[in-house]
């Protein structure tokens, strides 16, 4: 293996390198200097993100354990951009006195999970996938417990750890059965050997359950309520956007390559899970008054839509899932960013606190509205096209009833997304949130989201670009 082969893993290597640099620099700083970790970390991460855009040939390493191609690179870039936005948006919170000694820990843990996700997406066998998944999960538990003096936060960390331990166990169980029935853990070999044998179906279902846990599909979503609520806002947004997006990426790759012969088996199951996820997620979200919980639950419902693309089981389905996740990252981070900015300045998180926000903070209100419109899928913003392509791919697979249910759910979701808009623009308030200015980093993070929502809505080349990289069953 030559050096250039190793450099194929540039994303993972750079991120590892970055994580180590951050720790080393931090050791040499005294308390007063720790704030300078913010520009250093974000600057270095920005460089890593930009390097990811340098084109690179398709490669396979370690006998097929690790591989990369245009689509995988694109997925990694999407995750990097999302993580970058979250880093920008976290600055206000990190600067608070309680956290400013732990700045580099935050960056270190976040970068580590990203390494795991990158390995997971690039994996060519189940062992690599499992390692990546674990690497992506365990540091998040630490992040969820980041404000450890807060009992809720510690509780969130423990709960995430315990439930992901069980789901990892189930996943491993499934993988071991695959190995037992196929004699290999490589994607290609398993894909070739898979036939509709009960043991293999069992193995698949166990594997799928493990992934469903990560994407928080109903009925494997129960851990989310406590974890999302307890974790700091930026971690919640990381969990419900980036972590979920990464799991959706690898799920669709595996479904379309390894388990394509099982399509008749899993279609009914996915159908059921999709309907449950969209509906239950909506039912939960509708009754939330806390913005953080509200966004977290609505993200469960959004995950249900992703399954429509997987069910479509064609090239369009895959393109639409990748496109949807891209759009979803910008829209959801826009909303989370506003909530985080307000929470960092005022500590207010309830929807009632947003009454009359437009009068005091018009720009934040407009971005929030844009995000809500995009999440609800109102044209011409990006979210509309994200949902439309998913629906079209499901419809082209013949799932008209499912599309109907999905449209119904999208309509229901419109109700609660507009509640936020109504609070900001129409409701009157005795003591609205005072006008404030966010720091420059947060502003950049928010502007990036607004740009993403607009550009993706108006520029269909993005969709075509993704479409050139994807494949169907």
């Amino acid at each position: 293996m030559s050096l250039s082969d190793i450099l194929t893993m540039r994303n993972e290597l750079l991120l590892t390198f970055l994580a180590m640099i951050l720790l080393t620099i931090d050791l040499n700083l005294n308390h007063a200097q720790k704030k300078s970790m913010i520009p250093i970390s974000i600057g270095l991460f920005l460089v890593v993100t930009l390097i990811g855009f340098i084109p690179q040939p398709d490669q396979s390493l370690f006998g097929g354990m690790y591989h990369t191609n245009g689509l995988i690179q694109l997925m990694k870039n999407i995750l990097n951009i999302g993580a970058l936005i979250i880093l920008f948006q976290s600055v206000g919170w990190l600067r608070s006195p309680a956290n400013n000694t732990k700045i580099s820990e935050y960056f270190f843990l976040l970068v580590t999970t990203l390494i795991g996700m990158n390995f997971m997406i690039s994996s060519g066998d189940f062992l690599m996938l499992y390692l990546g998944l674990e690497l992506a999960t365990i540091p998040i538990a630490a992040l969820a417990a980041f404000t450890h003096f807060n009992t809720k936060s510690s509780e969130a960390g423990i709960k995430l750890l315990l439930s992901s331990a069980l789901s990892s166990g189930i996943l491993l169980y499934g993988i071991s059965m695959m190995y037992g029935s196929c004699g290999s853990i490589y994607f290609d070999a398993i894909g070739a050997a898979y036939a509709n044998v009960p043991l293999q179906v069992l193995a698949f279902i166990l594997f799928f359950t493990g992934m469903a846990f990560k994407i928080s599909l109903v009925p494997f979503h129960l851990w989310t309520a406590d974890v999302y609520e307890g974790a700091p806002i930026n971690v919640t947004s990381y969990l419900s956007v980036i972590s979920k997006g990464a799991a959706a990426f690898i799920l669709i790759i595996v479904m379309f390559t390894v388990f394509k012969t099982l399509a008749p088996v899993y279609k009914n199951m996915l159908y059921l899970v999709a309907v449950l996820t969209m509906t239950v997620g909506n039912l939960f979200a509708m009754r939330q008054k806390n913005m953080k919980r509200f966004l977290a639950f609505s993200s469960i419902a959004q995950a249900g839509f992703i399954l429509l693309g997987i069910l479509g089981a064609n090239k369009m389905g895959m393109t639409s899932v990748v496109y949807f996740v891209l759009v979803y990252i910008f829209s959801n981070l826009g909303a989370f960013g506003v909530v985080a900015a307000i929470s960092a300045k005022t500590g207010k998180e309830s929807m009632d606190d947003y009454d009359g926000l437009y009068l005091t903070n018009p720009k934040l209100s407009l971005l929030m509205t844009l995000s809500m419109f995009s999440l609800a899928g109102i044209p011409p913003v990006a979210g509309f096209f994200g949902k439309m392509y998913l629906f079209m791919s499901a419809a082209s697979g013949g799932y008209y009833w499912l599309v109907f249910i999905a449209v119904l759910n999208a309509t229901i979701s419109l109700y609660y997304y507009l509640l936020v808009v109504k609070a900001m623009f129409i409701n009157k308030s005795e003591n609205p949130i005072a006008t404030f200015q966010s720091d420059a980093y947060t502003k950049i993070g928010l502007v990036l989201c607004a740009l993403g929502i607009f550009v993706l809505g108006f520029w269909s080349q993005v969709y075509e670009f993704i479409n050139n990289l994807t494949f169907g069953i």
């Binding site: 439930s163 359950t209 009925p219 009914n268 039912l283 520029w459 969709y463």
Partner: protein, 633 residues
């Protein structure tokens, strides 16, 4: 050079964003000056483009990016610059710029100064999208966008509930037309598989005349135009729209937005010529609107309402031209109308400004010497709109009348009647307002004063245009070369040739067609003079009116009619729906569903105990259920 066409709408957009996001920070007249510059730059660019087009530059479609594409449908975000959009560009940016400048003076005292200019720039942006779009979808975005701005600006003084209602009325009336437009778009996609002008028009040539689908498409498109351009039966919103500030009435509700319907039909002329039924409908609705609005205007006493009905009436005449296939005539009148109607509105604004908000013409009078500049400008506007040579309106109205004559004597006679009404109500207005004695004693605290330079200069420019604007279309008979006909020939000549019925009008009858209306108009003006100057016959109180007079004064009771046949039944129906179906059936159902949801929520909460063990147990149970479903089905 047309590659840079995207700059034209970009500047007003920037202006809007900058002003909108800094509307608390911008002080004094900064916002107004900025907004004016953001319209002036596109105007200069448009001038270059226009001269390029006059010198024979080819029409060009500039694709900015591919916007929507799936399956076979592809809709690029692209602009079309050709002679028609070039002409419209000049009108929108030129007249728009003048009105922006005027507004700086007019709105100076208003607390919402910055908000006003942000909306105005947004309006210009959308209007430019409408004009420049190279497919129906972009046109539609502009179409909806100008509707939105119109709504925002009619309800600009939103503390007055009546003004808000006027804004809502405009929005809802337009919505009805827009539904037609939208349906037309769907049918176009179905029929042609595209929304791009170029492809649709080239494919349409293969379709035989009178095909049902084309008739439907054009009728639905026209329904959109009826809403936007305030034709029967959707015209009642326009007079109410006068609730907005006067510059808004001049820009949106006279010169540009309301003519969008005319532009759209002219743009789609190759489709419309394939549907004789639609053309017939357009003519009938156009002339009916022209006569109805013209006759209503005869009896109104609000200076802006008179001008509003006049606009409706003139738009009706433009549709008469479109229906008769005189597309050039319609565009010509659109152009000159933009000049003199904007001038009249601005001059009316100047009068209102001088009298500190008075709009009732019965309370004016004798303003001739007190605001002389405005007076002279108003005279020029009135002469132009009445069609007195050599003012602009004469030539464009002449072209429309000749077009109507081609469609039949009846249409010509009726059109002349509409033109006579125009002359009467305009000169009635002029004589009542400027001649005679002041009806109300001047208030010493607020003396009547001439408007500032920032208002009179834009008006003067418009006055010059109202005088010379007609020279672009002097017919051959009067020794002109009919330049506008030649200029727009690439767009309209094939349609106009396609529709030519019978022989050309001979020179002698053309002279008759020109002189008869002119003499009649002069007679009508004399009549107005004898009524309102010589005998000064102005009723201060509500007079006893004959049945017909009352009918006209009450605007044919159209509002009341809509109230009776649409609003009341709908209100009754909705009361029924509310009291019976909504409260007793749906609410109960929804509440029960809600209760069910709450109940489920409560019981789900037992799952959501916070006990991780219970969560994991539930997960395992779910896995087992899925296994059972999959393995033993």
């Amino acid at each position: 050079m047309f590659e840079y066409i995207w700059l034209v709408p970009l500047f007003p957009l920037i202006g809007f964003l900058v002003i909108f996001f800094n509307f608390r920070r911008l002080k004094g007249v900064t916002a107004g000056v900025l907004a004016s510059i953001m319209v002036f730059i596109p105007f200069v660019i448009s001038l270059f483009f226009f001269f390029g087009l006059m010198n024979g530059a080819e029409a060009k479609t500039v694709e900015l990016f591919s916007w929507i594409s799936f399956n076979k449908l592809s809709i690029p975000f692209s602009f079309l610059i050709d002679r028609l959009s070039g002409l419209m560009l000049l009108i929108v940016t030129g007249v728009g710029f003048l009105i922006h400048v005027y507004s700086i003076g007019y709105m100076k005292e208003d607390a919402g100064f910055n908000r006003f200019f942000s909306y105005m720039n947004l309006f210009v942006f959308f209007m430019l999208l409408l004009v420049l779009g190279s497919n129906y979808l972009i046109l539609f975005i502009g179409w909806e966008g100008v509707g939105l701005c119109s709504y925002l600006l009619i309800g600009f003084w939103f503390k007055n509930q009546e003004f808000n209602n006027a804004a809502k009325k405009a929005f809802i009336m337009n919505r009805i037309g827009d539904l037609g437009f939208l349906l037309a778009l769907f049918m176009l996609i179905h029929q042609f598989g595209t929304l791009n002008f170029a492809e649709i028009f080239s494919k349409s040539s293969a379709i035989p005349v009178g095909t049902f689908s084309i008739t439907m498409i054009t009728l639905l498109l026209f329904a959109g135009a009826v809403g936007k351009s305030a034709q029967i039966p959707l015209f009642t919103w326009l007079p109410d729209a006068m609730a907005g500030p006067t510059p808004v009435s001049a820009l949106i509700h006279a010169a540009t937005m309301v003519t969008a319907g005319v532009y759209m039909v002219a743009r789609s002329n190759l489709l419309f010529v394939l549907a004789p039924v639609t053309l017939m409908t357009i003519s009938v609705i156009g002339i009916a609107t022209a006569l109805m609005a013209g006759s209503i205007a005869l009896f109104q006493n609000d200076i802006k309402k008179i001008l509003a009905y006049s606009t409706v009436s003139q738009l009706g005449l433009m549709f008469v031209a479109l229906g008769s296939g005189a597309f050039t005539g319609a565009m010509f009148h659109l152009t000159t109308h933009a000049f003199f109607k904007a001038l009249l509105f601005l001059a009316a604004g100047s009068v209102i400004h001088a009298l500190h908000g008075e709009q009732d013409i019965r309370k004016m009078g004798g303003l001739k010497d007190r605001i002389p500049v405005t007076f002279w400008l108003f005279i020029i506007g009135s002469l132009a709109i009445s069609g007195i040579p050599p003012f602009a309106g004469f030539f464009s109205k002449d072209m429309i009348l000749i077009g109507a004559f081609h469609s039949g004597y009846v249409l010509w006679v009726l059109s002349v009647a509409a033109a006579l009404m125009t002359a009467f109500y305009m000169f009635r207005l002029l004589f009542i307002v400027f001649w005679g004695k002041a009806a109300v004693a001047a208030d010493p605290k607020h003396p009547v004063h001439e408007s500032p330079k920032s208002m009179t200069i834009p008006m003067s420019v418009l006055a010059v245009l109202s005088i010379i604007g007609g020279f672009i279309g002097v017919p051959a008979l009067l020794g002109g070369s009919d330049r506008i006909q030649v200029f727009l020939a690439p767009l309209f000549s094939s349609s106009e040739a396609f529709l030519k019925h019978g022989a050309e009008v001979s020179e002698s009858s053309e002279i008759l067609l020109m002189t008869i209306p002119l003499l009649l108009i002069l007679g009508v003006i004399f009549l107005a003079w004898s009524f309102y100057v010589k005998n000064r016959n102005i009723e201060q109180e509500e007079p006893e009116r004959s049945f017909l007079g009352n009918l006209l004064y009450r605007k044919f009771y159209v509002d009341e009619l809509y109230d009776t046949i649409v609003q009341k039944p709908v209100a009754g129906l909705s009361t029924f729906f509310h009291d019976t179906i909504e409260v007793k059936v749906i609410d109960r159902f929804v509440n029960q569903t809600g209760n069910l949801v709450v109940w489920i929520g409560k019981n789900i909460r037992y799952m959501q105990t916070g006990n991780v063990g219970a969560y994991l147990f539930f997960m395992v149970i779910s896995i087992i259920l899925i296994l059972v479903l999959n393995l033993f089905k």
